[in-house]
Symmetry: C2
Subunit: 405 residues, 2 copies
């Protein structure tokens, strides 16, 4: 928790990864983020993995440091409440993040009717409103055919929902940017962020669209090679594997030196009349000549033996670890100031992260857990909408809202 965004109140009505991660990033930078939760929880409230208590570790991970108001969104009056929260009056309010459809009760127009300068950041599947999820967008844009090994004909899905996660961070960027413009007098706006456009623009930004259109064909599958430079996995003497990358000249020289390959590399350079240190792509072009030298060098050593020289030479490398191995790494989690301990709805005690960013010299507030559904129902109705106790009581009596039980 940092307080860069102190004074902003963002209302979130969102499920899955992109929308909730947007709200998470905003909350961890100090915005008040209020989730609108459907009675009993939205479609991802019980998403796996689950805690022994049945609570979703996924949901509580993505909704840390937020508040929750629980509303019956199936009824007209409940939908009206959600609209009024999204378009709440006041400076630093009227900021809404959602993945609800662009048509329907959380469309932009009804919100704008309530507050002319409302800002709505909407995560979408396809730009035209058709449904898409990270995994279908990924299949559509060709990434599973790029991933994996050339000796295996199957497409390989990614397991990290990369498009969702990029979209979540980009949505947080968009919201803060639109709020800046509003304060500068530009009024409000809807910002639509379709996963399909995030994926299409990203592959174009990386040069891969242009490359493919120029070639009229796909880049061949790269196995575990880094395209265009030296980077690959190698087997070690104990059967483990490591990933090593040499992009800069310094990284290359450090790697060659640490492995004691200088003489062999010099001989190969003389034979091929090239300089591997000078240009990264020369290492890629001649990788089938380089690889046997490195394979032999790595096959004689363990990561423990390599580590001192690699650290001294600034080599860019890592063993391949499983997440279970990484999870035991206290430097990465328990002893990392980015992580803290906090009470989560599951009742479990495990390292919970704050913002991925660190502001040196600035106090990082305590880690905060996710709310229980409806934890903040009454306070939000009073604060954002100015409702009286009697009005709030009526909403409870009629089952339009509910608090945590």
């Amino acid at each position: 928790m940092y307080d860069l965004l102190k004074g902003l109140t963002v209302v979130e009505a969102a499920a899955f990864v992109a929308g909730p991660s947007c709200g998470l990033y905003l909350a961890q930078f100090g915005a008040e983020v209020i989730r609108i939760d459907q009675l009993g929880g939205g479609p991802d409230f019980k998403r796996w993995p689950l805690a022994p208590s049945g609570e979703s570790l996924y949901w509580e991970g993505l909704n840390k440091a937020k508040k929750s108001i629980m509303i019956d969104l199936s009824r007209l009056e409940g939908r009206g409440l959600a609209q009024r929260l999204a378009a709440a009056p006041g400076e630093g309010r009227g900021l809404f993040v959602t993945n609800f459809p662009a048509t329907g009760f959380l469309a932009y127009e009804p919100l704008k009717a309530l507050r002319d300068d409302v800002i709505c950041v909407r995560v979408m599947g396809w730009a035209d409103g058709r449904p898409a999820l990270d995994y279908t967008v990924n299949a559509n844009l060709g990434v599973p055919w790029m991933t994996g090994f050339s000796d295996d004909p199957r497409p390989v899905n990614h397991v990290l929902p990369a498009w969702d996660l990029i979209t979540g961070a980009y949505a947080a960027f968009s919201l803060v940017s639109a709020e800046r413009a509003r304060r500068a007098g530009a009024g409000g706006t809807e910002v639509r962020i379709p996963l399909s456009d995030v994926a299409a623009t990203t592959l174009a930004n990386l040069g891969q669209l242009a490359e493919t259109r120029l070639a009229g064909a796909d880049r061949p599958r790269q196995d575990n090679n880094l395209y265009g430079a030296f980077g690959r996995d190698f087997a070690l003497s104990d059967g483990r594997r490591l990933m090593v990358v040499a992009i800069t000249s310094r990284q290359w020289r450090g790697l060659v030196g640490a492995l004691g390959l200088a003489a062999e590399i010099a001989a190969l350079e003389a034979e091929l009349v090239v300089s591997f240190a000078a240009q990264e792509w020369v290492r890629y072009q001649h990788r089938t000549r380089l690889n046997p030298l490195f394979e032999a060098a790595f096959a004689r050593r363990t990561a423990e033996e390599l580590a001192p020289a690699f650290e001294a030479e600034g080599v860019c490398w890592s063993e391949y670890r499983t997440l279970a191995e990484a999870a035991d790494d206290r430097a990465l989690f328990d002893d990392n100031p980015v992580f803290g301990r906090t009470l989560q709805p599951s009742g479990l005690d495990y390292p919970a992260p704050g913002a991925a960013a660190t502001l040196p010299g600035v106090r990082r507030g305590e880690a905060q857990g996710a709310p229980r559904l409806g934890d903040d129902t009454d306070a939000v109705l009073a604060d954002l909408l100015g409702l009286s106790s009697a009005e709030i009581g009526r909403l409870h009596d009629e089952g339009l809202v509910a608090g945590a039980t």
Copy 2:
């Protein structure tokens, strides 16, 4: 190009993906983004893929809509110029994005000495300054052991630099957030964003750290299955494959209906005494029973045959396409208003994207290409540092700066 960030001037000294994509997102939202380029270009200026002219399609993709000043960063006076640009005076200036080391001439302290409220967003490898790249962080956190098939013992690298891309968007979010705090009177700050912390926090946010620590073991590899719900690739009658996902009840019912599987699914539900529509995880738990029904149904049909019913039912699906196939999809690229045509340094004409976000009803400015190195050297020295023509001439004469040739 939208103008949400009009009035901001951001100086970028960065290579690889995360830093430049941060600057790209800022530029496409209307900030003036000025790259500091080393004489002759930085370490990624000739990164593959290349155009026939030898220009990097990758570099020009990530540096669209930016300006470029070329400085000899190997000399003390050149380094001083870079510091003064990063910490340039004036409202909306003194905003710096870099992946240069946290120690050294672009450390925060010398910048703060020049401008007390300078903001520096620094992309890092490890939080302690050790080098790391997307691919080594990925190996370190276990994602390659999660990716791919349980019948193949090899780790699978991702080809999409997901950690870099998430970091780039998060860095843009961080810069705008820090600038908001500065205008609110909080002063400047350094914001450090290590790839390692982006990866560690993300896996924790998704619940995977907690899951792994609770289990004391890794989740088994999932092949192409979506964990915890119904989602997988299936072969079609023409040998092609599709990815289909049913997370919500509506998606599930639509899929079952469109494939004509209602009776068989009902029989299976009766046998197992479950409701597949009610809970997504039940579909995952019983996937080995469900999969044969779906495999048979898909094996009888092509995507063309399925499309009308799938669209009508709101099924979430996509064929697996290669990027070359996707690149021919005019709706995704040529006819997509997110893309435009612009002159790039390579001299090539291909669809170039603006911001991934769309603001309905707001005019999207023309697509803009990348600069040539040093295109804006003199203008930037005059505008940001107030140098006279004589002073700028001296810098050229002494080889400290250079313009485009």
